[in-house]
Structure formats: C-alpha cells, structure tokens
Amino acid sequence: MDFGLTDDQREIQRTARELLAERARPERVREHAEAGRSDEQLWRELCELGWPGIAVAERHGGQGLGSIELSILCEELGSTVAAVPFLPSVLASTLIEHAGSPEQHERLLPALASGESKGALGVAVEGVAELVVGGSEADVIVLVEEDSGARVMSAAQAEIGASPSIDPTRSCARVSAPADGGEPLEGEVAAGMDRALVAVSSELVGVCDRALKMTVAYVKERRQFGVPVGSYQAVSHRCAQMLLETEQARSTTAYAAWAADADPERLAEAAAMAKAAASDAGREVTASAIQAHGGIGFTWEADVHWLYKRAQLDAALLGAAKHHRARLAGVLAERLSAHVS
C-alpha cells in the first residue's frame, strides 16, 4: 500500500509544473482567453514533449505510460487553465484506444499522439452534441451516444459550429452528425469513457488546487480591521473546507487513475466516484475562492474566475456529479444483489 508517486512520475510532475509556470502564466492565459483562441505556441511545445501521446501505446507513437502519468499532466494543465486543446485531444485518443479496432488505432492514434491532429469528444443526443470542448479545432471527433455507442469521424464528416462557452480558455462547438456519419468504435466504450472521466477529474483536481493556493496566498496578504483576513475563522475555515473538498477529489481521482492501470474491475466504480467528487469540489472550491477574495474576486482582472468557469465546464463534462452518483448507486445495488444471491 503506497500512495506515493514513483520517481519517474514525480519527475514528469516537476517538469510539467516548471514548464507551465513559465509558459502558461496568468497574463498569457488571459490574453488568449480574451482573444478567444488557443495558445498554439504552447501547444506545439507540449507536442514536442510528447504530452498528447503520454498514455498512447508506443507502437502507435505514444509514450506508452499509464493513467497516472496522464492524470499528472491533466492536473498540472488544469491548475494553470492553459489555453491548449490537450484535454479534448486525449479524451478522443483514449476512446479510440479502448474502443477502436487495431486498424483504427493504426490509422488515428499516431497523429493524435504526436499532436499532428487534434481530437475532441462529444456526448450526443440524437446525433447532436452541444458544447464539445475543442470541437472547433478538432480534426478527429468521437461522438458517444447513449444506447447507440460511439463513432469516430473526421471534422469534415460532421457539421461543426463554434459555440463559445463561458470558459474562453478553450474553444467549444456544437457538433452534429448524420445517423450514418463516421465509423463505429466497436470496442470497450465504457472502459474508454471511464478513463476519460479520470482525465477530466484530474483536470478538476488541478483547478481546485490552484484555486485554493491563490486563495491562501491572497488571504494571507489582504488585511482588514488590522489583521490578515485569513486569520478570521470565517475565512480560514472556508479555506480548510476547500482543502477537504480538494483532497476528497484528489484521493478518489488518484484511486481511479490507479485502478485504470492496475485493477480495471474497480474502474467503473472508482471513475464514477472520482468524477462525482471532483465535479462537486470544482464547483464548491472555485466559488469559495471567489468569495474569499471578496470584491476583488468578482473582477475580471483577479483571474480567479477562469478557474470558476473551467470548473463549471468540467463539472458538466461527460456527466455531472448527480449522474455519476446514480451510476455509483447502481454499482452498490448490483454488488448487494450479487452478495445476496
């Protein structure tokens, strides 16, 4: 039983953190968000480092590492709300890797792993997916629809309309595809989706972590009635609560990332838990961050709102907390009946 990262993982984390501290500073994120476009330069750098392919098998041009390594990158990117289409791209490649055929792997994964092509993943209802993150820039789009499985298509095969969200650090689109559009992914869609959930949850953990750190730094400095506001229990206990929620998200997400690689039988339960915990934490912690900043937190310049907006998008992405708790309750009920019978 060991919760620590391996030395290699720690190295990945450190490198990512240092790179992003330099290359995804708040003012740069703001600049791209205000212009409503991705940070192409940063994206190219990440691609050169092989990030998009971190969890893709080596034979398909990836680094062949696991969910934990992917989770580390998602968390670091989330904490900077960097304006790059990393998450949508890995969501697409994750689905293709787990639900695609060997032929599809060979055809689609290398370009996604190298970053040569970008991906996006949408949840469709009757062929239409709203607010597909990264949808406007994607070359390869995976659409998942309840009861009718997943299919992959090129951007040309779908109708794509830009549909900006409240989080302008990433593009969003409305994607619709005719019933016979694209090609089916006939493998393990559920396994792919659960791994996708781990990636989104990891990003949310990063968002929470950053929101907490910004808040703690601010309330140590900001003084009111002669003392730092962070010494008032109304503020300090709020920060403690933020930490508790962040740690719940972090521990369940770490568990799910571990299960994805080491114990796939527990993955469905673990991923549902992680996404439920991370979605709730994302909403609560970033809202608390704004509140603890007071009036400043409500301003555009304070940069806390990017975290809040990202958290709102991610919390809804691939199903909100309620949805995953319902799944989880299903797992519990099943386990009970298996136990009884």
Binding site: I166, D167, Y232, I290, T299, A316
Partner: protein
C-alpha cells in the same frame, strides 16, 4: 396577523400594475454600451417621472407620493414583476434623496432633489475603497480645506454608474487626529471635473457594472458638505440604511421569476418527476417564500416600530445564497444553455457570484446578525 394586502394597498398595486402594462419601456438597445443603456434607462425614468412613478416613497412635498413602506415595497415588487429596468438614477432616488431629506440644508434640498427625481442628474456612491473593504472607519481618501473649498485626493471603488453621473456621494477623511470614524465628512462631489478619473472595473461577467474613481486634487465647494464637517459617519449610515430597504423586493421578485423559469424548464424536460430535482426545487421554492415572508415581516416592523431591525441582514443573506443555489442548479436542469457564452442563463450564473459579496459580504452579515440580533460579543483581534 394579516398576510393579505389592505384595500388601499391592493388598489395601489393594481394602479401601478395597470400603468406598467400600458407604458412599457422602449426595447432595450441591443449590444449597447454603458452609455446607451444608461440613456435608455434615463428615458424610462423620465416616463416614470412624468406619470409620478419615479419615487413614490418620497414625500409629496418633494414630488413623491408619500407612500407607506408597504406601498414602497409593492412598488419594487411590481417593477420586478414587470421586468422593466430600474430608473437610471436609482441611487439618487433610493439613497441620495432620502439622505438629503434627513441631513441636507433647505438650499441643498431645493437644488438637488428635483433633478434627482427627473433623472436629469445621475448620482453615484463613493464609499468603498480598495484598502478598506467592509471597514468604513478605515477610509483613506482625504479632503483638506482650502478657502471655501475642499481639495480631495484618494481612490474609490465599486462605484456603479460613475461614467454617467453628475454627483458623487463621497465620504472622505477631513480630520486624522480623532478616532477613525469621527474624522469623516460627507460631500457631494461634482463628477464633471478632470480631477476625477473613472476607470471601468470589469467583472467576471465581462461587463463593467462598477468603476474605480481616481481622485487627484478634486475640488468641492464647502456648500456641498452634507450634515456638517466631521459628521460623515452618521450621514453615511443613513445612506446605508436606505440601501437595501426597497431594492430587496425587486431582487426577490427576480429570484422568483428565475425559479419559475427553472421549474418550467424542469417540467419541459420531464425532470420535475425526478425526486432529486423535485426536492431541490421544492426547497428553493420554500426558501423563496421564506425570503418574501421575512422581507414583509421586516416591513411590518418598520411600520410598527419605525425602523428596520438588523434582521434585514437575514433576508439579504438568504436571498444571495438562494440565488447562487438556484443558478447552480440551473446548469443541471436547463442544460448547456447555461454554460454558453452570452446567454441570459449564463449571465445569471456568473452574476450570482457577486450576490454574497456586494452590499455586505455574507461574512459581514453573519457578524451583524451575531452581534446585533443575537447579542454575541464582538471579536476583538490583536494585530
């Protein structure tokens, strides 16, 4: 106990509701900037003014209708229900006018009240400062006497409508040798001078509802002191006491309307049959009703005892938290529209985050409730 309107109150409501139906404002200018929006609201105030509906709670001698507090609350409920905008000079009407009536000289009342009412001169409020936060006693903006004028230097923040305002209700420090809240003076500062620079303060919704004021050697004639030099704390309290009184009813109705919209969306999407959403919506309905009842209860106290109790803090606290819960829930019920840039729904979601901060943070309100309603000892901190 009688939770119905009296005949007189019902007649007042019906008259206003009828008038609002027959006199809708012009359509809101699309993609308008602050100035265009303000012009639109100014035109609307003019129409209210012409019909005698600009400030019904003002005494008849100043051009109002001498409404009771209940009628005044009905006024804002109906304004909210009709989904019409607030008058351009809402701060002058709600805060400036009543403050002048309480503390102004006859000359000041004569000079300032008529253009407040007509909307000819817009007012803004210069209390908050970047450093002081909720701590009025910590204000740093200074005013120094120079002949029969005052010279002002400092910085203000959270000033809404500053670009279009003629007058600013300014609280500045005029004496640094006395205890902190004693050295303050309340001024009317002319905004039309270069010494006052307005910088819009963009908020998380993207719009700039508020501004920062940079004041560098601004001049205020001595005649524009309100309530006497060194008495600014008292005068400001009058302004603050009036701040939440009426407006609360308009906000409460907006919450009600938003909740009704969410309930309708839930019904449309078949989610009202999901016990989880049914429970959450019923709870919000209960909260919304509590807010209404507590607000009216506060008004009963005003009518009975002459002044609102600190319980008003409960209404503001509950309202702001309920609005945040509701808009957060709307993401799950209404769906992706709420997360789309520029949608009305997304505006509500983002704007709601300010509710627990503006007009007294929830933390400050809880302090007030603890100290002034429950009589708990105030925390004394050591630096």
């Amino acid at each position: 106990m009688d939770l119905t309107f009296s005949e007189r109150e019902a007649a007042f409501r019906d008259e206003l509701r009828g008038w609002l139906e027959e006199n809708p404002p012009d359509p809101k200018p699309e993609n308008g900037d602050e100035a265009a929006l303000s012009e639109w609201r100014r035109a609307w105030q003019r129409r209210l003014y012409d019909a005698g509906w600009a400030a019904p709670s003002w005494p008849t001698e100043y051009g109002g209708r001498g409404c009771t507090p209940t009628e005044s609350a009905i006024y804002f409920e109906e304004i909210g229900r009709a989904r019409v905008p607030l008058a351009a000079n809402v701060l002058g009407l709600l805060l400036g006018g009543p403050t002048l009536m309480a503390w102004g000289t006859d000359e000041q009342k004569e000079r300032y009240l008529p253009p407040i009412l007509s909307g000819e001169e817009i007012w803004c409020q210069g209390f908050s400062e970047p450093e002081a936060g909720s701590d009025l006693a910590g204000l740093k903006t200074r005013a120094v006497k120079d002949g029969d004028e005052w010279v002002v230097n400092g910085q203000k923040v959270w000033t809404s409508g500053a670009q279009v305002s003629k007058w600013c209700m300014l609280v500045a420090r005029t004496d640094t040798d006395v205890p902190k809240h004693k050295g303050l003076t309340y001024f009317l500062m002319d905004m039309e001078q270069d010494a006052v620079q307005v910088r819009p303060l963009r908020q998380i919704t993207g719009e700039a509802e508020f501004n920062e004021l940079f004041i560098e050697d601004a001049r205020i004639p001595d005649a524009n002191v309100v309530g006497g030099v060194g008495n600014g704390w008292q005068v400001a309290l009058t302004t603050l006491m009036n701040e939440r009184a009426g407006l609360g009813f308009a906000l409460q109705i907006r919450l009600r309307q938003l909740l009704d919209d969410v309930i309708e969306a839930a019904e449309r999407r078949g989610l009202l049959e999901d016990p989880l959403y049914a429970d959450a919506l019923a709870d919000l309905h209960m909260r919304c009703e509590s807010i209404r009842l507590l607000a009216w209860k506060g008004l009963s106290d005003v009518e009975r005892y002459g002044q609102p109790g600190p319980e008003g803090s409960l209404v503001k606290w509950l309202w702001s938290e309920t609005n945040q819960r509701l808009t957060q829930l709307s993401v799950d019920i209404v769906g992706t529209d709420v997360l789309k840039a520029g949608s009305d729904w997304s505006y509500e979601l983002l704007r709601a985050r300010g509710n627990t901060i503006e007009g007294g943070t929830t933390e400050v309100l809880k302090n007030i409730v603890a100290e002034r309603v429950l009589g708990l000892p105030r925390l004394k901190v050591a630096a």
